[in-house]
Symmetry: C2
Subunit: 219 residues, 2 copies
């Protein structure tokens, strides 16, 4: 009975390309793709170095429209970050939920991570959580909380992975899932950083392989 009549958030993708007949002048942009463009810019240059003019040019929206649709620059940044998190979570959710052996699951997670971090026409983008931690997180409490959330979410996902693996006997008795999860996150962070320094994919994959050898206790 408590049906939310605003707008169907998840059904929008498939079920609502039918125009809902809004009242006034129609938008000249698609909010989703515009937010994607903004995200890409923020990921490349960071908050401070990205101007509203840049954002306006990239999204095709003029500044007043930008402001009306997403709020001021900071709000747009926050929405971009949420979008980033949603995308990343969606890309990894299936793998984290799967029942494949530990090593295979981790390999697939890191493959996706590298895809994300190395994408971008004008150079690799790295991890937006790491970028935000490195910039706005110290001074902006709200943004900082989102970053902490992003970090712990990954820790937890890895933690479940390792705990599950241990239960299935894939890890030695003494293995501590929490510590291994932090190491797995640390490996994510180090490849994200190195990706932005334009370290080639091959090297990053080698780092991942070495980390997996240790974490999965391959002898």
């Amino acid at each position: 009975m408590v049906q939310k009549s605003k707008k169907p958030p998840s059904a929008a993708k498939i079920a609502a390309p039918v125009a809902p007949k809004r009242r006034g002048r129609p938008r000249a942009y698609e909010p989703d793709v515009a937010l994607g463009k903004a995200l890409d810019l923020f990921r490349r240059d960071g908050f401070a170095a990205t101007s509203l003019d840049d954002l306006s040019a990239a999204t095709g929206m003029n500044r007043p429209s930008l402001y009306g649709a997403f709020g001021d620059k900071r709000e747009l940044y926050i929405k971009s970050y949420q979008r980033y998190r949603d995308d990343a979570r969606a890309a990894m959710a299936d793998i984290f939920r799967s029942d494949a052996p530990l090593r295979e699951r981790l390999e697939r997670i890191y493959r996706i991570a590298l895809d994300i971090y190395l994408s971008g026409e004008s150079g690799p983008r790295g991890c937006f959580t790491v970028m935000t931690a490195a910039s706005e997180a110290v001074s902006d409490p709200d943004i900082r909380n989102m970053v902490v959330e992003g970090l712990t979410e990954l820790d937890k996902a890895f933690g479940i992975c390792f705990r599950h693996a241990k239960e299935r006997g894939e890890l030695p008795e003494g293995a501590d899932p929490a510590s291994l999860a932090h190491l797995a996150s640390a490996t994510i962070h180090t490849i994200a950083i190195r990706a932005r320094a334009r370290v080639p994919r091959r090297e990053l994959e080698a780092i991942v392989k070495g980390a997996l050898d240790v974490m999965c206790a391959a002898k």
Copy 2:
């Protein structure tokens, strides 16, 4: 005649607090402390969000003096980064060179790292190499090269550590020093990032302990 009469670069620290009787009006600032202040600002806010006015206020130098002493903003940033690297290297060099057991050496390294990352009156500062990778490194080749240098320098130092430990029998036969070194660097990176998200020192120390348990193969 080929005598370089400019200024003695390395002897300056100890041997030359005696005024060398420079020619014109004396400086109203000490370049070293000014650079330190600039570094602190850059570490807090990053390149783009730090204005010349901020730098001028923090160093006590007016803009033309700043410009004359260090060049433009980018050059000042580069010099600040070099200073950061020099300081960090100096703080860790003894430990890396020491003959203490692996675990003890690593513990001391991470203690110093946390001291560096958590210092700063207005909040933790994190690692400047990580911050720079997360911002300027993609677009500025010179800065990127310095970042890569910083990353590999740490990898190598850790690598020597682990190789040495393996030779002394502190590590199992199958251990791969290079992989362990990357994991050690990754742990540095992850605590640097979390520090900026204001994760308390206790938690960071716990992460380090867990990582050491794995890396040192404590059973």
